[in-house]
């Protein structure tokens, strides 16, 4: 997992800086260098380095201790190692008091540095794994966790932040896989209701009668099998939020009941006569174009306006392609830990392939594609080959189209040439990719007069 961790070496002596950086790179880490304290602080603003090696004595008005203090203000979790050729007890005490993780004297024994870095990375791996597992366990996403540099998404995230603590109903619209539930969770977890429950109901998953009792609960004897009173999801969400996914699929009768809850903040359990009052925020989501459903008479107009107090439309991934590299790197980073794979990068060619693809399944499809590529990858880097299934499925995006007038044989020749090129002329590998045996491939190479 080394490639995920970035190290910054800070030393005004170039030879010191570069030699330590080169040695750490040989150990598989991604290493940057800085020639002064000021440069180090600037670099730490832009990138979250796991470990900083900082020389104690540096000119320019900012020594190692001052540099460390400024970095710690920006990056409280950073591990900083003070390194010096002039060790004194005083500087060692000062460094440790100000938060240095270690204080080492150069030249150092290679074993010492190796053990030190391994120890820090081991702890950081465990901390990261712990955070991921906790988040996965509780799905405690906050607005800050949603990754995007798309202007529309940034506006949406700002809106989520603004409305997080309001009680107003939110309607999230977007194609499947765009992350509607994640946005709903982020709104809930970023607001005043975060400590209260968030209850999710998939409206499309249940039949009308089941959905009714699921939402509102039922009284004992309300129907056959109702042996005792049961609370519904609205009651379970008391004080918190109810997330009604696929609201467009809700049957007409329940649309009326839901409208009443939104208006009155109260309802009756199935088979009950006693009104139940609740304080629940409603967040609804759909992949349907809901106003169209209203025009078609399939969805109540009054309910639509009750739900659509705060409207969030999540753009599909193809409309925010600038997020693809960001999201792909995020998935690589996260999945590398989950799959125990030492993969830290995506090649430029692979990124281009991902950028060109149309992603009908949106972020969820991208996540699945990255996971599939990582499972089969035997390298440290995901390349075009890792994502060949996107092209092989014949769905490599709308950007690709066969040139007009090309014959099937010409097409076959182009495919064979490009596959041979990708495998550096490896016949066995090319034949496997093309799904033919080696003798057939040899025969086609001869027939099409493909140079080797």
């Amino acid at each position: 997992m080394k490639t995920h961790w970035q190290i910054l070496v800070v030393d005004d002596e170039e030879v010191m800086c570069e030699s330590l950086a080169a040695w750490l790179r040989e150990d598989g880490y991604s290493v940057d260098t800085a020639a002064s304290g000021h440069e180090a602080v600037e670099k730490s603003r832009l990138r979250d380095y796991a470990i900083y090696f900082v020389d104690l004595k540096m000119p320019g008005g900012m020594d190692g201790i001052e540099t460390m203090m400024q970095i710690r203000t920006l990056r409280p979790d950073a591990s900083i190692i003070i390194i010096t050729a002039y060790a004194t007890v005083d500087t060692a005490i000062t460094a440790m008091k100000e938060g240095a993780q270690e204080y080492i004297v150069k030249p150092c024994n290679p074993e010492e540095i190796s053990l030190l870095v391994n120890r820090i990375i081991k702890v950081k791996n465990l901390q990261r794994e712990n955070t991921i597992l906790r988040k996965k366990l509780t799905r405690q996403y906050v607005v800050h966790d949603i990754i995007s540099k798309n202007p529309r998404m940034r506006e949406i995230l700002a809106l989520c932040h603004e409305v997080a603590s309001l009680r107003s109903t939110v309607l999230i619209q977007g194609e499947s896989g765009t992350g509607k539930e994640m946005v709903a969770r982020a709104i809930h977890n970023s607001g005043d209701r975060a400590s209260k429950p968030l209850v999710t109901v998939s409206c499309a998953a249940l039949a009308e009668t089941l959905l009714e009792s699921e939402l509102f609960g039922y009284e004992k004897g309300a129907f056959t099998g109702a042996e005792q009173q049961r609370r519904g999801k609205f009651e379970m969400a008391e004080g918190g939020t109810i997330f009604l996914d696929e609201i467009g699929d809700i049957p007409p009768k329940l649309q009326v009941d839901l409208l009443r809850v939104l208006q009155e903040r109260s309802f009756y359990r199935v088979g009950g006569s006693q009104e139940v009052r609740v304080d629940v925020r409603v967040i609804a989501a759909t992949n349907m174009i809901l106003h169209q459903a209203v025009s078609d008479g399939k969805f109540r107009e009054d309910l639509y306006y009750r739900l659509n107090v705060i409207e969030i439309r999540i753009p599909p991934l193809r409309e925010r392609r600038e997020d693809i590299p960001l999201l792909a790197s995020h998935f690589v980073d996260r999945l590398a830990h989950e799959l125990s794979k030492d993969i830290g990068e995506i090649s430029e060619g692979a990124l281009k392939l991902l950028m060109d693809y149309n992603w009908p399944g949106n972020v969820r499809e991208l996540e699945n594609a990255v996971e599939r590529a990582m499972v089969t990858c035997r390298n440290h880097v995901l390349t075009e080959d890792s994502f060949s299934f996107l092209a092989l499925n014949g769905i490599a995006g709308k950007a690709w189209a066969a040139p007009a007038g090309m014959t099937l044989q010409e097409m076959e020749k182009v495919l064979i040439v490009s596959t041979l090129h990708r495998t550096n002329g490896n016949i066995k590998e090319s034949a496997a990719i093309l799904g033919i045996d080696r003798s057939t491939l040899y025969e086609k190479i001869k027939r099409y007069e493909i140079p080797r």
Partner: protein, 179 residues
Amino acid sequence: MKYLYVAAAPEVAREDHLLVRDLLGTAFAAPVREMPLPGLDFAYDAGRRQHGSIPVLELLSRLCPADAWKLLAVTERDLFIPVLTFVFGHAQLGGRAAVVSLARLRQEFYGLAPDRAVFVERARKEALHETGHMFGLVHCADRSCAMSLATNVRHIDEKHAAFCAPCAARLRRVDGARI
């Protein structure tokens, strides 16, 4: 045609030079050539009483023949980089030049009786290790792999003079590196 070049400094015994040359010849299916190397006195640091590996690599970069795929130098001098007390060898990661020091691979360095067999094995492992770096391989977590990091001779003795399967596979994917 590209060649793997082996260059021994003047102080290196012929049999040790041949040892490294033959190793590369069998480990990598590429033709190996020898080339002369001047003395490395220019890299001597009187303060540390060792030779700097960085100026040696700079020299090798300048001397690297046009038809050299990679150039591995061998020296008896004890090498260092400024931040570390010593290095067994030093390579340009993904580059064309590397150097291996035989000094600390000998039992005599640690006050022990000479042992040719132990020395030969260590030299083979370190030559493979530095060549692996030239082909872009980084340190391997498999302690038995030639690419695992060794910070003392005990570590070198623990590993094998061969690449583990994943490192060998990575090497095979490197442009033309056939092992």
